[in-house]
Symmetry: C2
Subunit: 129 residues, 2 copies
């Protein structure tokens, strides 16, 4: 049994975030007589699980699903794999979009003298050519 500070330390999540996760029902630590949250090892374990899943970019709702799959002994790994693949596909498309932006920016930056002259191809392009 530990306080939120210790749980934060161990899980790597800010205390604020842990309170938020409790509010939305991702963890449910019991309370001490003084009203302090009392985190068990299982709670901290859950929090660390959440920290890792969030670090991989899964949404909160995906995390909720992953946790329930994790806690369901009779789960099939196929569902987890599908979820991970869907997420990976979304990351791929975000990367593609960013790379497109980056490519355009590179062109513009390269075309821009970047000196004191007021003639700027970047602005010219943004203005419509």
């Amino acid at each position: 049994m530990m306080t939120i500070g210790a749980a934060a330390e161990l899980s790597g999540l800010p205390a604020k975030t842990i309170r938020y996760y409790e509010e939305i029902g991702l963890v449910s630590p019991p309370r001490d007589s003084n009203g302090y949250r009392a985190f068990r090892d299982t709670d901290v374990h859950k929090l660390a699980f959440l920290a890792r899943a969030r670090g991989l970019g899964f949404s909160i709702e995906d995390c909720r699903l992953l946790m329930s799959l994790y806690e369901d002994r009779h789960r099939a790994s196929a569902e987890v794999r599908r979820l991970a693949q869907r997420h990976a596909a979304e990351i791929d498309s975000r990367i593609a979009q960013l790379r497109q932006m980056r490519a355009t920016l590179s062109e513009l930056i390269e075309a821009c003298a970047g000196d004191d002259r007021p003639d700027c191809p970047i602005l010219k392009d943004l203005a419509g050519g």
Copy 2:
């Protein structure tokens, strides 16, 4: 002089977005006697500028700055270039972060049988190894 619908059509921005841009002071179309916004060509031009800059991932505040640089005849292109480079660097770091996530996900997905057996390396990893 045109209504918000026509301005939306021409600029490629939803009418809602255009109203929002007016609210935060990015555009200031005059009003007709009936209260309708009356967009001039310069307003639509600004909106198209904003649409392009947003499409390149610049934040609203960056867009505001870019517009003011664009409208300042005495601007130096160096400042624009700096802004674009800063933005490009941020995109690079976001891409790097996503690629890191993607790499980890790939490993996990590859390791996961994805069949009906309940033994899932993805969940095992999230749970801490």
